[in-house]
């Protein structure tokens, strides 16, 4: 556990970066510091490993005052990941990862061997061990950065906007894998971001910082979205807040309709088109959805090709939330969201009308302001692989 008590950082020119921060960061969980730029979130993170020394107050890790430990020694025991990875360009990927173990006196040979294992852990081929950072893409560099921070197996990891510099698709992948990795490792992680979506997605707890270095709210993500502590948090969480809060409403009770499917390459179906029959769901040989066929644009009997399909659209995977269901329905040209099983095989569709009805039937007073006992009963959500975080239906008053 990391604990801040009355920590402040005031620079000689009088600027207050962090004001009287008291906060307990639970062990084995992801705690996200979020806020606009200049709110002191990065300063707070960097005070944990003494990259910045507090002006006043005490920071302890598992009860030990960090000032009692020699700074380099302290840092070797804390994983550190930064925005642009900060890899050493003159060292190979393996040697980059081996940095801290070598500093701790592990032989270079042994450290490199372990580095290769870590590459697999972060989803990179071991053949990359001998490459140099300049030979990697941004996302790959960031993975190496994570592997490097894990190399000495530190109990605590500090991550300063690690996924901000990569494109949205790669970011999403990295976030998913990060959650999977954390599920295996159970590190105490402090994660800084300015992106509230990332905070909600990754955090077990979120600390919202306001300008001037004040801690505005420290709570579980659902509470930050539903019950912002003040106008600042409300404004910061702001746009799409209602939509985001649907992430926490399970949709397991939602009816899944049977949906006739046609295979890729098969002849376009006969029968009445138009209306709700205008769109036909096309699946591949394994039954995985490929896209929607506009039957008005193809005469019956013609083989279906990729060029006839409306591609894309999100899918509702098992354990989906109302948010995912809504997005699946909205992103489908037919207005019917495709639900898939664990293997990605289409099992049917969810209609927009059903999703809207479910949202309407949801006790939205609970969404907007959960009752005290409800908030008390909240437990950290299970990290669903690749899916939105969901809580069991019923826990939230979701209709069955």
């Amino acid at each position: 556990m990391i604990s801040f008590s009355a920590v402040s950082k005031v620079y000689p020119d009088g600027t207050t970066a962090v004001h009287d921060l008291s906060l307990e960061i639970p062990a084995g969980r992801i705690t996200v510091f979020v806020g606009p730029s200049g709110c002191g979130k990065t300063t707070s993170l960097r005070m944990i490993n003494r990259m910045i020394e507090p002006t006043s107050g005490v920071i302890t890790i598992d009860g030990t005052d960090t000032r009692q430990i020699d700074a380099p020694q302290l840092r070797r025991g804390i994983g550190y990941v930064i925005q642009n990875a900060g890899l050493f360009p003159h060292r190979t990927v393996a040697d980059n990862i081996a940095t801290v173990p070598v500093l701790q006196g592990v032989t270079r040979r042994e450290a490199r061997r372990r580095a290769t294992e870590l590459l697999e852990r972060v989803g990179l081929p071991t053949s990359m061990a001998r490459r140099y950072p300049a030979q990697l893409s941004g996302g790959q560099q960031q993975r190496v950065g994570v592997a490097r921070a894990l190399a000495a197996d530190p109990p605590v990891m500090l991550m300063d906007e690690p996924f901000s510099a990569v494109d949205p698709v790669v970011r999403e992948q990295l976030q998913t894998e990060f959650l999977r990795l954390q599920e295996e490792l159970g590190k105490t992680i402090v994660f800084v971001t300015h992106d509230i979506d990332e905070a909600v997605r990754l955090g077990d707890r979120i600390a919202v910082f306001a300008t001037g270095g004040h801690l505005a709210q420290y709570a579980v993500p659902a509470d930050v979205l539903r019950r912002p502590a003040d106008d600042f948090v409300a404004g910061f969480v702001g746009r799409d807040r209602g939509y985001r809060a649907l992430s926490f409403a399970g949709a397991t009770g939602l009816p899944v309709q049977r949906e006739p499917t046609v295979r890729m390459g098969a002849a376009a179906p006969q029968g009445p088109g138009g209306g709700e029959h205008r769109w036909a769901l096309v699946v591949d040989d394994d039954g995985r959805p490929r896209g929607w066929l506009d039957r008005d644009a193809l005469s019956p009997g013609d083989p279906i090709g990729l060029q006839h399909l409306r591609l894309g659209g999100s899918l509702a995977a098992p354990g989906y939330s109302l948010r995912t269901a809504l997005d699946a329905a909205l992103s489908s040209p037919s207005g019917r969201g495709v639900a898939v099983d664990d293997a990605g095989v289409a099992i049917g569709t969810i209609t927009l009308a059903d999703v809207v009805a479910a949202i309407e039937a949801t006790d939205r007073t609970a969404l907007a302001d959960p009752a005290g006992d409800d908030a008390g009963a909240w437990s950290p959500p299970v990290l669903a692989k690749g899916a939105e975080r969901t809580v069991p239906a019923g826990d939230r008053g979701v209709p069955r």
């Binding site: 380099p72 070797r76 550190y80 930064i82 900060g86 050493f88 360009p89 003159h90 030979q135 893409s137």
Partner: protein, 244 residues
Amino acid sequence: MTAAWDFLTTAANWSGTDGIWTRFTEHLFYTLLSVVIAALVALPLGAVIGHTGRGVAAIAGVANALRALPTLGLLTVLTLWSFGLLTGQLARLGPSIVVLVVLAVPPILSNTYAGIAAVDPAARDAARGMGMTGSQVLLRVELPVAMPLVLSGVRSAYLQVVATATIAAVVGLGGFGRYVVDGLAQQLYGKMVAGALLVALMAVIGDRLIALVGRFLVSPGLSGRRVREKAQEAEAGFAAVPPT
């Protein structure tokens, strides 16, 4: 030109105390001694300034001031002065070496500083954040990353010193400068041109040699195009994974 060719192809000119080999050894000695002393002064100084960020304005001023000093004038003044303090060869050698060191310090100093200042702040931050001490950051990250620039500083220092070491002959020392100075005095222009050619040759060969050393000192991760091309290949290969 033919006179120069005749001078170089006459076997007698290659041996003896005024022979090409002797003059080459002398010239090499002045050059190496000066560059090594300059490196010993400028490398640590540039490294510390680059690492701490302190004294940047001072070195810019000093480096420019040193460059502006008229070499021949400085040599004359120092030699006159040193004859009062030292005796024999040392009275001539000392001032010559000092002049050459003064010439060699600025490029090494400013390149070392610039190389370290140009290290990616993220890499430096990561190095510190992972628990490297200040000197470990300097020796294991900053200097290796700055190495290409440091070496190019050493190369330009070497080139300037090789060319300028001819003036040692003005105060009565050896080196290829002897041929230039004596050739002029004896009106043997072939000898003069031969001296100049030998200096040029030595500059080019030395420059190549330093470049060769650089191949071993500079990490492949830092040197240029080959790596960048591979990076593009790697990226293209990775994009082949279908997006889900």
